[in-house]
Symmetry: C3
Subunit: 161 residues, 3 copies
């Protein structure tokens, strides 16, 4: 059970804003702005819940620096052949705990996807298990771990979650 730890009110507000802006940038398909949410040596991993719970290392995506995230953005926007779709992030239950050099933040997410000429549908649901740090005055992700509940849909994962 997650304890209700003391996080200063202004930090809660900054963390809430971080997630709101993160969702807005991705849902606006402003992918070039996405790596800026991360520290230079940040890790970003997308892993199935079943693998994560069993301690299996196999992840769908795993990047170990902001430069790798920039490479991914280049691939997504320039080279990967894919059918475009809209994303809509619903991020709820944001809960932060303070520790030595930042915040451990957990949140639930659900991404609704809309393809051209199709209905909106649940695309991926799961949780974020993140480390957030103050990076020269801005909050950034030092680690973003996306644990998704279903293994099916994200096989065609193109855009960041």
């Amino acid at each position: 059970m997650i304890a209700a730890d003391a996080v200063a009110l202004e930090d809660r507000v900054r963390i809430d804003d971080l997630y709101a802006r993160y969702a807005a940038v991705l849902d606006d398909a402003d992918f070039e702005a996405w790596p800026d949410f991360f520290t230079g040596d940040a890790t970003y991993k997308v892993i199935a819940r079943e693998n994560h719970d069993r301690g299996l290392p196999l992840a769908l995506l795993a990047f170990e620096s902001r430069d790798m995230l920039r490479d991914r953005v280049y691939a997504v926007t320039q080279t990967l052949f894919h059918e475009p779709y809209y994303q809509r992030h619903l991020i709820t239950g944001i809960h932060a705990r303070r520790d030595d050099d930042g915040f451990a933040v957990r949140a639930n997410y659900c991404v609704v996807r809309t393809k051209a000429g199709a209905l909106s549908e649940v695309y991926s649901a799961g949780r974020y298990d993140d480390r957030v740090v103050d990076d020269g005055g801005d909050l950034r992700f030092a680690r973003k771990l996306v644990v998704f509940d279903s293994e099916l849909i994200p096989n065609s994962l193109i855009y960041p979650l």
Copy 2:
């Protein structure tokens, strides 16, 4: 990218409450109370994301005063022939920026619809791009712009989003 601007804490709280009450009123089907969330000369527009992004003016719904919203409520509750359904609003990522005479507020929304004898399903997802002002002590929408991701489902849009 949306900047993290300084909105006073009490204003954040009031804005969060505005959206919570807005969702509650619509989801309770208390449509008569809906126009009260708007200023007298408010605009309310529901537009497909594709049209909005291309600068095309064609909107699914467009009203230019609170009186027009009252007319819409009358139509919805008294004259429009439609199969009733329940709405459930999930409004997340509320993010406000202060400007001269109010707040520019953006949020993501997803409406889950339930028809009689049917499963709950994603009905519409998109974003709100709103102007909120203090109107005699109460926060109200001076503009509510609903940009929906999918063009399909809202063809049968009856109730306000």
Copy 3:
């Protein structure tokens, strides 16, 4: 219409945290921790919106003490034969009003379900209509009323909402 009542900021924060932790515990399938969110004589009821709106008493689930919730957890984890599934709670629009001895809290919820080898899907959507009290320094539910919009899916309801 729900009024925007004065709830102290620190209470809002505690209430937000309560719902975030509640969602996290259920979504982690940490069911043994679930009864601890309730007072000793709490009531927990899951009822269809149609029955609730008509004043019909028939509920899908109704428990009248924390001990009954513990019995339910035992049934869910030990005796009920069921196909496991993942839950993901999206709780939004949390809105509290202070009254004599606690808080009346309303929120919207949507639970996304994922079965093994299947897509994530909307499982249940509806609202919480709760009473929250300070119980020896911790906020707990003295009443949790889950009003779900669709009567269909929850026929197979196993885990708490």
